[in-house]
Symmetry: C2
């Protein structure tokens, strides 16, 4: 489609208002939501639609609570050490095991340890038994007609046992709402299909599938539908007929989104188009044939939050379940986050516990940054009427992970190397109580994080007068007792496209008119190395085209070169190998770890140092490299 | 079997020591625990056995981040409001949608809102575009070879999306350990089979099934095996061959337990028999063919704790998962709990938040009390070296429920009526945020709980000089501003077996030699009523056989009469109907609710009062009664 006939109009409605509108319209459907009979033994995780009352008592007879003898209590009243009472088998007593029924005329049990066996037919006791002692009366556990679980109850393993013991073999549970998931977009391909230029692997619907299951619904995913109005219309109608609610997940193109709005309007009614959140603004809420239809934008992070804000409450409402309250912790925001007054923003947060202080570091805020959700420990919600939060402020973070897990995580902030991935993996493998979380802000960023007390370790590679790292620590952290743990030697070099089509062999070539460079951000060790090498060769940075284009990781630089958006960039050998680039080495550097001495004694840091020295780690680094060829 | 050849010997080992012994022996099996390939789209909830690295970048091309036009940035550098720049279609620009690839020679995107369309072939811009603006570079989200998730990671919906986006369609996950579950015992019947005298419905294995699934294993339940040595041996050997670990769940008779010990000793090795816990003492840990075998006692609560203490850590170890840390809250224990120095005790706790104070009330401590687990909000662990905890002491409680759920629960302590079950159900149905938890300690127990600030409401029926409830509140709660909410009128009467075989028609008959009475506990409204009626008739309590036998609920009294362990008891009509007993009415009583005035304004109490007055509740009470006939 051309760029001109687009529907640019969007409303900017608050989540709560939009959800309220939507739920109001859903009421009739929710009120007549049906239940089904489920076998008790298959009812794990289901929600009871009716209270469950016991049909039989448990135990359903008077049962011996001990191994011993059943007696008539009144026969024993006279017994004492001075005056033992003898009882005859079958006449005065019978042997019973725990659980055996106690029948008339017996009305008490004496445990076997208190019985002296005289011969095969005679026992002696020296203590009176009170009536009904050591007998579990009928219904001691569950009395017939007693309520076992109320309605709207999430059925757990122990509830299943209690219902069965109470004679309840079938339970009424709410039907699981069926959620139809329609991925759309001409550019979308199924996982495993050949990846062509411009094609995007369909993954959102698989995330939705998992979320639907976790929230108690039944996911019903359809094959992706290309951006064709009639095909979409047919697919949507079919899904509405086959499900209790439908999600259309647009491709990332605005075209798909417009189709969705028009389709819902044609087949039913659009209630809301545009929510005052970031990410998640272009959401669409509608009704077709009295069934809710949600248009979810294509960017994965937007998709996640629109699902959480609208689809989750719907599923929970069908199942009469409250929205589970979120675990909130207080943390210190490590750097400023600016937000717009126009929307509520959901900022993904990495948390770390450093010296008892919970530090919150914002992750990539892009709507397309799936990995920001994978890595997130929590969410910071910035309200619509706020311009953001200053660094150092206390904030409330909604936890996505267990706080205990966060507390036993080594926080690493600084330069990135693939070794950090390998280490993170190895630490968790060696002791699954521990994790390593690694934020990549460049070497100087790591030093500053140490200064602010926000990290346990900072991986750095900072060259000064031919010596790596020491002088930076002394200069920037003068009042801290610091240690430097030696890490790895890495080879830095100029990365160019395979085959070196522009024949770049030296820094001087970077000044050529036909060469586009891509740089690292200020404060990155690699940027400092570049500036050092350029100054040695008296090359003016201004003369390098692309010197100002900044990427924040080695891999991003390598990717830029690989894609042809740049001809050259400085970076480590492993990144060049990872994307199969040619590499002109410029020298070896030292990638080490700056650590406050006080942290060295933390068991998780001890494990880190132990693993760093291990042959296993060295091997993994080698093993790792094999993957990059 | 007779009572004489029993194996009375049991060790009394600490849980940690026993588990340590067991895990030490399991090490070789755990180290060689295998992984399997799982389709990424089916990997929800599985545990990664290897770190997952992206195979492709996402996006895997430079993509437009906007709807707009793709341009060559250098063509736009001169543009300003004073000096608009015109661009020719196809030559200088092309229209692009979000997600479209940006290819050479274009290197920037201008959003459509900033483009002035002149005609079909010409647009005008008034702002320079910087190179690579509004382009998502290759790998912006995920770079090929980047680690997406580490090993030993619990796979969530968002991880699935990220793996698919990174081109990973198959993931290595740990195999789920297969847990064979063998219910045993001659007295055991399957749910649905006719319930004969002495038979027990098998329910533990179904609880285990649920627990195995929740902890990440695969449950493999076998049909119950009677107490026959050869059958048990065959069944156990088969289960050991077919599973990674085996659980034998003994019937409650000691006989079954002995078979289990002997069998494990014969086929392999018994490591531990007897754990220093209550409930859960008679657990057995053994190895057969290098596979762990756990003998779990038959009482449901013992079964639960032995599973939690030994089987759960095993399943987690196979999956390299840490034992999830428990949520602990501090609470005030409402009454004294005495424990033995011989063992660690697990006390099931009902929690209630009354005026910001978390009150912990111990539930039925019997090993057979399944309902104590169903009702429990948490567990109080009393260490082995402790004699117990005094009432009023601060204790640590391991939460089984969400604390928010507990905070929005009306705490009711006092007399029991089926109406409380109906109310509990109705409150949760009307607003699933609220619950009602009801502890049954008799009317005076409720009054005392109000005095100690441990409950929101106390259901009472206390007769004094012909007037119900008022004088008790005034006498026992003189300094509290109290309200009395009128509840229901109930008919009290003498319950006797169907057909009234002993022809009991009055209180005078209770004094007969051939009549066994069963009473309620001291402080119960019904007991107070009995004493009042006896004194009116000048009947001496001493002259009633069974006056000292105490039950704590109407239903327990009814069950005693039904089972023939008593001939008569005083109680409410609904209890008699529930168990189909004959009933000789002795009068109507008033079952009301004592509430401190300050609580009346709590929204959950407002809901309670509203429902109490509702026609719906009246109908439900009637509807409820239908079930008791």
């Amino acid at each position: 489609m051309s760029g001109m006939d687009r529907n640019i109009y969007l409303s900017n409605m608050e989540v709560e208002k939009a959800l309220g509108l939507f739920m109001e319209r859903l009421k009739p459907q929710l009120e007549q939501w049906t239940e089904e009979e489920v076998n008790t033994i298959s009812s794990l995780g289901r929600i009871s639609a009716k209270a469950v009352f016991a049909l039989v008592s448990s135990p359903n007879y008077n049962a011996s609570a001990m191994d011993g003898i059943a007696v008539k209590a009144k026969d024993t009243f006279a017994a004492s050490e001075a005056n033992p009472v003898r009882l005859k088998k079958d006449l005065d007593f019978i042997f019973v095991d725990t659980g055996d029924p106690i029948l008339d005329p017996f009305d008490a049990v004496i445990m076997i340890e208190d019985v002296v066996v005289i011969d095969d037919n005679l026992v002696e006791i020296i203590k009176a038994a009170s009536p009904w002692q050591d007998i579990r009366p009928i219904g001691e556990d569950i009395v017939a007609n007693e309520m076992i679980i109320p309605s709207n109850h999430h059925i757990r393993p122990v509830d299943i046992a209690a219902m069965l013991a109470g004679g309840v073999n079938v339970v009424k549970a709410y039907k699981k709402p069926k959620v139809g998931l329609i991925p759309t977009g001409t550019e979308i391909i199924e996982p495993g299909e050949p990846l062509k230029l411009g094609s995007i692997i369909e993954s959102n619907s698989r995330m939705f599938e998992g979320m639907v299951i976790e929230y108690g619904g039944e996911a019903n995913r359809y094959k992706p539908i290309p951006d064709d109005y009639q095909l979409l219309k047919d697919g949507l109608l079919k899904a509405v007929d086959q499900n209790d609610m439908v999600i259309i997940n647009a491709g990332s193109s605005a075209g798909s989104e417009d189709y969705t709005v028009k389709l819902i309007a044609e087949l039913g009614e659009v209630l809301v188009h545009g929510i005052a959140t970031k990410p998640g603004k272009p959401a669409i809420l509608g009704m077709i044939k009295n069934k809710p239809v949600v248009g979810i934008p294509g960017y994965p992070v937007s998709a996640y939050f629109v699902f959480e804000n609208f689809v989750k409450p719907m599923i929970k409402s069908f199942l009469k379940q409250p929205l589970s309250s979120k675990d909130i912790v207080e943390a210190v925001l490590s750097k400023r986050v600016v937000s717009s007054l126009k929307h509520r923003e959901y900022v993904r947060i990495k948390l770390g516990m450093v010296e008892g202080k919970l530090i919150a570091t914002p992750l990539n805020r892009g709507a397309g940054a799936t990995m920001s959700l994978v890595r997130a420990d929590g969410i910071l919600v910035i309200p619509q009427n706020s311009e953001g939060v200053e660094g150092g402020e206390n904030i409330q973070v909604e936890l996505l992970k267990n706080i205990e897990e966060i507390k036993s995580t080594i926080v690493s902030i600084g330069s990135h190397d693939i070794a950090m991935d390998i280490m993170a993996n190895m630490i968790h493998q060696k002791d699954s109580n521990y994790s390593l979380s690694s934020a990549h802000v460049g070497s100087m960023g790591g030093i500053m994080a140490l200064r602010r007390g926000e990290t346990h370790i900072a991986p750095i590679h900072l060259l000064d007068e031919g010596i790596y790292n020491l002088s930076y620590i002394k200069r920037y952290l003068p009042n801290m007792e610091m240690a430097l743990i030696k890490g790895l030697k890495r080879i830095q070099g100029i990365m160019v496209k395979k085959g070196n089509p522009k024949n770049i062999t030296s820094f001087e070539d970077l000044m050529r008119e036909d060469v586009q460079f891509v740089n690292r951000q200020k404060g990155a060790g690699t940027r400092i190395l570049l500036d050092y090498l350029l100054s040695q060769k008296s090359i003016d940075a201004e003369s390098i085209s692309g010197y100002d284009r900044e990427m924040t990781t080695h891999m991003a630089v390598a990717a830029a070169v690989d894609s042809g958006s740049a001809d050259a960039g400085l970076g480590v050998l492993s990144a060049a190998k990872a994307l199969n680039l040619d590499f002109i080495p410029v020298g070896e550097e030292e990638y080490d770890f700056a650590v406050p001495v006080k942290f060295l004694k933390l068991p998780m840091l001890e494990l880190f140092v132990k693993l760093l020295k291990s042959e296993e780690f060295a091997k993994e680094l080698e093993a790792g490299k094999i993957m990059y060829i």
